[in-house]
Symmetry: C2
């Protein structure tokens, strides 16, 4: 079958209109912030990947464009979960980013080179599909383009590139290997594309033999995708079966009958902090890491519990990440973006004072996010935490449960203490009115996101000392698993 | 002389009050955002650096604390100017960050190991002093603490640390070398501290022999520094000698008499873009890099000139950075922070569509920044660009000069073009009323910041084609220097 062609004359005729359309759409995208556009350009060597991106970009306003050719992960990259480096580079809404190979680099590359680890591959596909689904729902348009040529064209182009002093560096060893194993590579790639071709982010295969055909085709794909992204979103008023809060649904938390006394507390605290200190100083820990998430009503004692943990740690080893309402900048990215930014590298500890669970707690209870969005967050969060644990990080999550009466007592005590008055604001009193709704949301959250490798610990927190010891104990237990 | 000591009992007596004070001050700092605090902890091996930081942090709220032990620069770090990695980690106002060794690591380490490169050292000191001056003026409190012990104490502690399985990893090869050459190291360090001891950011030498003394002393230093940082700033109404705009002060720009015709333009454009493409594809360029800054009145044609450059480049090689008013987050950092974030690594190109010169243009003309602050920006900018060029980056700056009449014509034409209408807003019309003030500010800017290694090119821009060719030519000339 002959490669599709477009004559120079036809090209020249169609180009100006297409360029105007693209520039106009980019402008609308930038001003409306309707969505972000992530373009993945993959393809066989010498099928014109760079040429295509360079040309497309020359039609657009480069101010709102990003281009990333991430290549193989560096030593530093490898300290983070595989998808971390892509999260760092995601475009904000209003922007277009081109990724050479994108998150397919390692998966397809791995498939080509090594067919042994089938189980790993299955997870690669799962991760990619889940990522793209989430991106699309969080208003990132994912455009996937695969450029290909026949073997002869490839050979000829590689030869031309290598003959020219200014382009010979572009032909890598990997390109030459792939050219040599053309059919084999093609088979594997075909399977990869098929496995990751889904309706919300389909692959566009484009024949790259004829330059004019290639450019116009890719340009039109981009145009159609941006246009689609500018459409107002369907209001998603799916009606989910409302769960009635039943006894079973609510978290049953029994506050301990007896207060922990001071001596007992001091002694146990020291023992547990010593145990934790030893665990994170073991050489083994350098290939692990720890992610702790703290949730609970205002005044439940999250800060105090966190400080009892950090006292056992070396300051160079951990980071406490306070989470509050997203900033305007953060709102331009997919929901999990601001948490991915703080995922710790191996050997380190990140402690989140409030976390990604805000989606299904405050955002749900105070009606800040449509139901369809917080509903899907359960699965997204489970997958997010799974990627962390697969990478070797331990994940432990704490719900500090303070009773309504004790919360009131603490609010009042704070109001009387000039040093702590700042801690209770209007918003806290307002939240208190939603106490029961929070309890129900917490119960569902725990039920839906308590997984084998990322456990919830429900901590009765009316007695602060009891709570702090319970948290420390759970952290140590997690690390000893 | 005996090392200063504090008895356990005195320590226990003084501690609670100090901790309360520190926590209270930290809170005030966080809520008022009065300043940021950067604490540099340096010292001889085993003088208690980590122990001190760990203990101090345990007295504070870890949510608003950062800790960085940056160590030797990685391969990736080396692609950026030396101070780049510290800029990435600077605390925002309201936060406290501890830096182990901080920006002294390479300087002092270099001095200890190698006394040959005197000239380099002089620049290291200059860079540090200038950095700290700028930070302090931009509301970062710089607290520098040097912990030391006598040789015997050091030997004993290192032995203890090495004997314990959980701490032996903390004694590095470097520590052992320094312990062995105690006197020599001490002499060099003394000279380094002296060279970098200045009134606005003095060194605090603290004897680390007695743990209680060390902790209380460092705690009190931190307390006093935060307290000083919370003081309302002296309004700096220095009266600078106002320069009267004279003929000599204004930029004399002669618009070309003859328009460039289409054929000539197309031909020259192609030649120049080819020349640029070759220059940045040379293997030599991988150890260089390019920073371009574009300034000019609204509608002067900055975007068009930039696009003519990017057309010659590979998309993976450059980034266009649009600069507009700082975001609320950016305002919490020193002025140059948001530009340091976009400094390109070696082998890359960053093109700034507006730049750090906003300080002495729009911020001066529209009275957004006190005179004392934009006045000192001239020297700060010269130093900033010097650090770029010392690292191997070429820096070229363009003032696109459009006449008042031509600007009006362009505004009107844009208003009539639905695709471009967005480009002219109220703000632009308002700015136009300040046309003459901008010209005077531009003239002073060029006079004060045109340096041998970072040249200004004044581009008559009434004829867009002429301007684009002139810019391209200057970029090529810069790279060929």
């Amino acid at each position: 079958m002959a490669a599709p062609r477009i004559s120079k004359a036809d090209f020249e005729r169609s180009l100006p209109a297409l360029r105007d359309e693209l520039l106009d759409l980019q402008l609308k995208l930038h001003t409306s912030k309707a969505c972000a556009v992530a373009v993945i350009i993959a393809g066989t060597p010498a099928a014109g990947r760079s040429e295509t991106v360079n040309e497309l970009i020359s039609w657009l306003d480069p101010k709102h464009i990003g281009v990333h050719a991430l290549g193989d992960p560096t030593k530093e990259d490898r300290r983070f979960p595989a998808l971390w480096r892509y999260w760092q580079k995601l475009p904000a809404r209003g922007r277009i980013t081109f990724f050479f190979a994108g998150w397919y680099g390692e998966y397809v590359g791995g498939e080509i080179k090594d067919k042994s680890s089938k189980r790993h591959d299955k997870r690669s596909v799962e991760r990619i599909l889940q990522l793209e689904q989430m991106l699309v729902r969080d208003r990132v348009r994912v455009v996937k383009i695969y450029l290909h040529t026949d073997h002869e064209t490839q050979q000829r182009r590689l030869k031309e590139l290598r003959a020219n002093k200014l382009t010979s560096w572009r032909v890598t060893k990997e390109d030459r290997w792939q050219a040599k194993h053309f059919d084999q590579v093609n088979r594997v790639v075909r399977a990869c594309l098929k496995a990751t071709d889904h309706e919300i982010a389909p692959w566009h295969r484009v024949d790259g033999t004829d330059e004019e055909y290639r450019l116009l085709t890719v340009g039109k794909i981009l145009r159609d995708e941006i246009r689609a992204g500018l459409q107002p979103r369907q209001p998603r008023r799916l009606s989910w079966p409302r769960e009635k809060p039943t006894k079973a649904a609510a978290l049953s938390v029994v506050q301990p009958a007896r207060l922990v006394d001071d001596d007992e507390y001091d002694q146990q605290l020291e023992t547990l902090q010593g145990r934790l200190a030893r665990l994170v100083r073991k050489s083994r820990f350098r290939k692990q890491g720890l992610v702790l998430a703290f949730e609970g009503m205002d005044a439940a004692g999250k800060g105090g519990a966190i400080r009892r943990i950090t006292h056992a740690l070396d300051a160079r080893q951990y980071q406490v990440v306070p989470v509050s309402a997203p900033t305007p900048e953060e709102l331009l990215y997919p929901y999990l973006w601001r948490f991915w930014r703080h995922v710790p590298p191996l050997g380190s500890i990140a402690i989140f004072d409030r976390s990604w669970y805000g989606r299904v707690l405050v955002e749900r209870v105070r009606d800040l996010t449509p139901e369809a969005d917080w509903r899907r967050a359960y699965a997204e969060i489970v997958e997010f935490e799974r990627q962390l644990t697969e990478h070797g990080l331990f994940v432990a999550k704490f719900w500090l449960s303070v009773s309504k009466g004790e919360q009131l007592r603490r609010f009042k005590a704070r109001d009387e203490d000039p040093l702590k008055r700042f801690k209770v604001d209007r918003e806290d009193w307002a939240n208190r009115r939603y106490y029961d709704a929070y309890q129900a949301a917490a119960a569902e959250m725990v039920r839906r996101t308590d997984t084998e490798s990322a456990r919830w610990t429900i901590v009765p927190a009316d007695d602060k000392k009891h709570a702090r010891l319970a948290v420390l104990r759970a952290v140590c237990d997690t690390l000893e698993r």
